[in-house]
C-alpha cells in the first residue's frame, strides 16, 4: 500500500532535472569528437572546449539536449528505414492494393503525449541554465569593462581602473573557489555587433541605444579568440576578438602600465610632427599629447598589443607602415582613410607609433 506524501512540485522538478543532468557524463561519446582538453589543435574557437562558467553550463546543457535528440533520431531513423525496406513493392505484392488503414487514435495519442513530455523536460533543463547565467549575482569584486563595438573594431574601457584600450581585451583569471568574474557592458557606436568568444561564453549583441551585459569567469590563463557574430557592414569578417586571460599579477602589471600616459622622448620626432599635424589626431588618442580623437582606437600603448586592425594583422613595423600608407590593403572597406602620406612619411609615423609601449 502506498503512503500519502506531500509532493512539492518545485522539488520534483529540481530532482528530475538533476537526475537528467546526471546522465550527461554518459553521453560524452556524442560530442567526443569535438569535446577536447584545452590547447588541443582542433580549433581555438570550439564551443565544446569551455573554460568559463557560462560556456561550461551551455556545454553541459548541450550534452543533455544532444542525448535526447540523438535518442529520438535513432528511434525514428530505425522505424523509417524499417518501413522503407520492409514495405517496398515486390513482385509478389503488386497484384492488389494493401489494406487501407485510416488512422489509430491510440497511436496518434501516443505520439502526441510522449513528445509533449520530452518537450517539458528539455524546456526545464534550458530554463534552469537561462536563469543561472542571466540572473547571476554580480559580486562586489567583479571587474567591470565597457565594450563598445565600432565598424570594425572593439573599444574597451575599464571605468574603475582608468584604462582605455582597443581590440585586445585583458581580464584576470577567476579561481573557481574565489570567483573574480568580469562583467561586460556592451554598447555600440554605430551598427549592431555581437561579442562571441566561444570558449568563454555564448554571444551577446551590441546594439546602439540598447545596453546589454554578459559575464565570464575564465579558469585558465591564455589567449581566447573570437570575432564579431552579427553582420555589421563591409568588414564584419575582420572584426576579430582577442581576449587575454592573465594571472592576477600579470593583470595588475598590465593595468599599471596601461594607466600611464605615453612615454615620449623630449625631442618631437618627424613622425610625431606628421601625426599631430594631420587628421590622425581627429580620430586617435595618445594620452599626454594633443591627439584626443575618439573615433578610432586609442594608441597610447599601441606597442603593448600584438595585432593591429582589430586582429587582422600582426603588429610589426612593416605592417604598421603598410597599414598607415594604405589601410585598404589589410581591410578593404575599413573606416580608416589613407591620409595621402608618402611611404617615407608613413614610415616616420610608424616609427613614432613604435615608441608607444
Amino acid at each position: 500500500m502506498s503512503t500519502r506524501r506531500k509532493v512539492n512540485i518545485a522539488n520534483v522538478v529540481r530532482s528530475l532535472s538533476t537526475q537528467a543532468l546526471r546522465v550527461v557524463p554518459f553521453c560524452g561519446a556524442v560530442v567526443a569528437g569535438f569535446a577536447e582538453p584545452s590547447r588541443s589543435p582542433l580549433s581555438p574557437t570550439n564551443i565544446f572546449a569551455p573554460v568559463s562558467t557560462p560556456a561550461q553550463s551551455i556545454f553541459d546543457l548541450s550534452h543533455f539536449v544532444l542525448l535526447v535528440t540523438g535518442a529520438i533520431f535513432t528511434v525514428v531513423v530505425i522505424l523509417l528505414t524499417y518501413a522503407v525496406v520492409k514495405f517496398r513493392k515486390t513482385r509478389e505484392n503488386t497484384w492488389r492494393e494493401p489494406a487501407q488503414v485510416y488512422g489509430s487514435t491510440q497511436l496518434e495519442l501516443a505520439w502526441t503525449v510522449i513528445p509533449i513530455l520530452i518537450v517539458v523536460v528539455l524546456f526545464l533543463a534550458a530554463a534552469r541554465v537561462i536563469a543561472s547565467i542571466q540572473n547571476a549575482a554580480r559580486p562586489s569584486n567583479a571587474l567591470e569593462v565597457t565594450v563598445i563595438g565600432h565598424q570594425f573594431w572593439w573599444e574597451y574601457r575599464y571605468p574603475s581602473l582608468k584604462v582605455v584600450t582597443a581590440n585586445e581585451l585583458h581580464i584576470p583569471i577567476s579561481d573557481p573557489a574565489h570567483p573574480t568574474p568580469t562583467f561586460l557592458t556592451l554598447l555600440s557606436a554605430d551598427t549592431d555587433h555581437s561579442f562571441w568568444v566561444p570558449r568563454l561564453a555564448g554571444k551577446t549583441d551590441l546594439i546602439p541605444n540598447h545596453p546589454n551585459s554578459m559575464w565570464v569567469d575564465p579558469h585558465e590563463t591564455g589567449l581566447y579568440l573570437g570575432q564579431c557574430a552579427q553582420y555589421c557592414g563591409t568588414q564584419h569578417a575582420l572584426m576579430l576578438l582577442r581576449v587575454y586571460v592573465d594571472s592576477r599579477e600579470d593583470f595588475d602589471r598590465w593595468v599599471k602600465q596601461q594607466s600611464q600616459p605615453a612615454q615620449l622622448g623630449t625631442k618631437p620626432s618627424e613622425g610625431r610632427t606628421i601625426f599631430e599635424t594631420t587628421a590622425c589626431v581627429n580620430c586617435h588618442t595618445i594620452a599626454g599629447t594633443p591627439a584626443k580623437g575618439t573615433f578610432g582606437p586609442d594608441l597610447t600603448h599601441l606597442m603593448s598589443r600584438q595585432t593591429i586592425a582589430s586582429g587582422a594583422s600582426s603588429n610589426t613595423i612593416g605592417n604598421l607602415i603598410a597599414w598607415i600608407y594604405k589601410p585598404d590593403v589589410f581591410k578593404p572597406g575599413c573606416k580608416m582613410p589613407s591620409m595621402g602620406l608618402s611611404v617615407q612619411q608613413s614610415a616616420a609615423v610608424a616609427a613614432y607609433l613604435a615608441t608607444l609601449h
Partner: protein, 558 residues
C-alpha cells in the same frame, strides 16, 4: 460515386497560334493553370540566379584568405541570395503549385478571383525584376555600391541613410513591398477558393490535404507579410521623410526592426514548409498505395503549427538581450512546435507502414525529405534551448540548420512535386532514369554541403564573413562544403534537361499515370482551359479510389 459524374472530354483541337499571339495569350492570361506555370517558371529562373550567387560565395570560402571576390561583392551576394531564394523562388513556386493544383483538386474551374490572381503574379514578377534592377540603378552616389548589402533581414541601423548610401537599400525595400502586395493578393485568393469553390460533396472534412495545407499557408502569408510590409513603409519614412523609427542616432530602436522582421520571418518559414508538407501528404500515400494515416490529426497538426508559429519569432533574438523571462517563454513556445511537427512525421511513417512503396522519383525525394526534415527538426530543438543557441546562432550551424529545412525538406519535396505533377502539367512523362540520376546527385551534393556545414559552426565560424583566418580548424570543412555545391549544380542541370527533353519527347502520360486518387487525375493531361466539363461530385477524400474500387469505397469508413 458513379462514372458519369466525372467527365472525360477528348483533347482540345486548338488551332496553332503564331508566336506573338501565344505570347500575348500568356501575358494576358487569367487562367489559374497558366498563371501557376508562369509562377513556377519564374521561380526556376530565379533558382538558377540564386544558385549562382551561392556558388560565388562558396568559391570565395573554399580556402582561408581567398581573393575570389571583394568583401563588398560577397556581402551583396549573401543579401541577394537570401532575398531571392525566399521571396522570388520558394514563395512563388509554392504559389504556382497552389494556383495550379488547388482548383483542380477541389473540382473548380478556376481560382475565386482570376484577375486578382494575374495582378498578384505580375506584382511578384516585377518585384523580383526591381530587386535585380539594383545592379544597374543602385548606385545613386558615386561609389555607393549597387545591389543591396545589408543582409536578407536588413537589421537597423545598417539600413539607415548613414550606413547605406545610394539606392541599393531602396530597391530592396520597394521590391519586397511590391511582391508583398502580390503575396497577400494570392493568399486571399487561395483562402477564398478553398472556402467557396469546392465541388458538391466536398465538405472541409473531405478536402484534400494539399488544399488544407495551402489554405493554412495563405492564412500565415496574410498574418506574416502584413507586418513586413508595414516595416518596409516605416523604413522608407525613415530614409526619406525624416522618420526615426529605427534611427538609433535619433533615439529610434534597432530592436523594434528585429521584432517586425521576425514577426514576419518565423511564420515565413512555415509559409514555405507547410506547402512542402502538402506535397509529401499527397505523394507519400499514392506511392505507398495507402490512404493518408490520421487525416483529422494531420489537419489539426497543420493548424496547430500555424497558430504556434505566430508566437515563436523572438527565438531569432535570444542574443539581443531579452530578459530571462522573455527568453524562457520563447524557449517553451518554440519547443512546443516540435509536437505537431513530430505528429506529422509519425503519420507519414504510419502511412508507409504496411503499404507497397513504389520507388519512383517523386517518392525518392519524399523519403529523403522525411530523413532530412527529422534532422532539421532536431537541430531546431537544439537551438530552441536558448543557452545552446547563444553559441549556435549566427554561426554556420544555424546556416546549416535552415538550409536543411529549405533545401533538405522544402526543395526535396518540391522536386518530388515537379516529377509527380509534370505529367499532368505537360501531358508527358519525365525520364525516370534522369530523374533518379538527379535524385542521387542532389542527395550526395546536399549531404556534402549541408552535413559538413554544421561543423565549422560548432568550431566558432560566424555566418556572413567573406573570409577567415587559417588555423581555426575550419579549412577542410569549408572545402568539402564547396565541393558539394558542384554536385548540386550538376543535379540541377540534369533536372532542367529532363524537364526540357521530356516536354518535347516524353511518352504521353494519359490522365492518370500514377493510379492516383484526387480529382486532378480524372481529367486529361494537360487539363483543358475549363478543367472539368461537368463539375464532379465527391463522397470521400479519395474520389478516384471510390471510382476504381466501387466494391470498397472510402466513404464507408470516413
Amino acid at each position: 460515386m458513379s462514372t458519369e459524374l466525372i467527365a472525360w472530354p477528348s483533347s482540345e483541337t486548338a488551332t496553332p497560334q503564331p508566336f506573338v499571339g501565344q505570347l500575348h495569350q500568356w501575358v494576358t492570361t487569367v487562367d489559374h493553370k497558366r498563371l501557376g506555370i508562369l509562377y513556377i517558371l519564374y521561380a526556376l529562373l530565379f533558382l538558377v540566379v540564386g544558385g549562382v550567387e551561392a556558388t560565388i560565395m562558396r568559391i570565395q570560402l573554399i580556402r582561408p584568405l581567398n581573393h575570389f571576390v571583394s568583401p563588398q561583392v560577397f556581402n551583396r551576394m549573401f543579401t541577394m541570395h537570401g532575398t531571392t531564394m525566399i521571396f522570388f523562388v520558394v514563395m512563388p513556386v509554392m504559389f504556382g503549385f497552389a494556383n495550379y493544383l488547388v482548383p483542380l483538386m477541389i473540382g473548380a474551374r478556376d481560382m475565386a478571383f482570376p484577375r486578382l490572381n494575374a495582378l498578384s503574379f505580375w506584382m511578384t514578377a516585377f518585384g523580383g525584376l526591381l530587386l535585380y534592377f539594383s545592379f544597374v540603378g543602385g548606385d545613386g552616389l558615386y561609389g555607393a555600391g549597387n545591389a543591396p548589402d545589408v543582409g536578407w533581414f536588413a537589421y537597423a541601423p545598417l539600413t539607415s541613410k548613414t550606413f547605406s548610401r545610394g539606392h541599393s537599400t531602396d530597391f530592396w525595400i520597394l521590391s519586397l513591398l511590391v511582391s508583398g502586395f502580390g503575396s497577400i493578393g494570392t493568399a486571399i485568393n487561395i483562402i477564398a477558393t478553398v472556402l467557396c469553390m469546392r465541388c458538391k460533396g466536398m465538405s472541409l472534412a473531405k478536402l484534400p490535404l494539399l488544399a488544407w495545407l495551402n489554405a493554412t499557408m495563405a492564412g500565415l502569408v496574410i498574418l506574416a507579410v502584413s507586418p513586413l510590409t508595414a516595416a518596409q513603409i516605416m523604413l522608407l519614412v525613415d530614409r526619406y521623410l525624416g522618420g526615426q523609427f529605427f534611427d538609433t542616432q535619433a533615439g529610434g530602436s534597432a530592436v523594434l526592426w528585429m521584432h517586425f522582421f521576425w514577426v514576419f520571418g518565423h511564420p515565413e518559414v512555415y509559409v514555405l514548409v507547410v506547402p512542402a508538407f502538402a506535397f509529401a501528404s499527397e505523394i507519400i500515400p499514392v506511392f505507398s498505395r495507402k490512404a493518408i494515416f490520421g487525416y483529422p490529426i494531420m489537419v489539426a497538426a497543420t493548424l496547430a503549427i500555424g497558430f504556434i508559429s505566430m508566437s515563436v519569432w523572438a527565438h531569432h533574438m535570444f542574443t539581443v538581450g531579452m530578459s530571462a523571462a522573455g527568453n524562457t517563454f520563447f524557449v517553451l513556445s518554440t519547443m512546443a512546435i516540435a509536437v505537431p511537427t513530430g505528429i506529422k512525421i509519425f503519420n507519414w511513417l504510419a502511412t508507409m507502414w504496411g503499404g507497397q512503396i513504389h520507388f519512383k522519383t517523386p517518392m525518392l525525394f519524399c523519403i529523403a525529405f522525411l530523413f532530412q526534415f527529422l534532422i532539421a527538426g532536431l537541430t531546431g530543438v537544439m537551438q530552441a534551448a536558448a543557452p545552446f543557441d547563444w553559441q549556435l546562432t549566427a554561426s554556420y550551424f544555424v546556416v546549416a540548420h535552415f538550409h536543411y529545412v529549405i533545401v533538405g525538406a522544402i526543395l526535396f519535396t518540391l522536386f518530388g512535386a515537379f516529377y509527380y505533377w509534370f505529367p499532368k502539367m505537360s501531358g508527358r512523362m519525365y525520364d525516370e532514369r534522369l530523374g533518379k540520376l538527379h535524385f542521387w546527385l542532389f542527395l550526395i551534393g546536399f549531404h556534402l554541403t549541408f552535413d559538413f556545414m554544421h561543423i565549422p559552426g560548432i568550431l566558432g565560424m560566424p555566418r556572413r564573413i567573406y573570409t577567415y583566418e587559417p588555423g581555426r580548424g575550419w579549412d577542410i570543412w569549408n572545402l568539402i562544403v564547396t565541393i558539394g555545391v558542384f554536385f548540386q549544380a550538376a543535379a540541377i542541370l540534369v533536372f532542367i534537361w529532363n524537364l526540357l527533353w521530356s516536354y518535347f519527347r516524353g511518352e504521353l502520360a494519359g490522365n492518370d499515370p500514377w493510379d492516383a486518387w484526387t480529382l486532378e487525375w480524372s481529367i486529361p493531361s494537360p487539363p483543358p482551359a475549363y478543367n472539368f466539363a461537368d463539375i464532379p461530385e465527391v463522397r470521400s477524400r479519395r474520389p478516384l479510389w471510390d471510382l476504381k474500387h466501387p466494391e470498397d469505397p472510402d466513404w464507408h469508413y470516413e
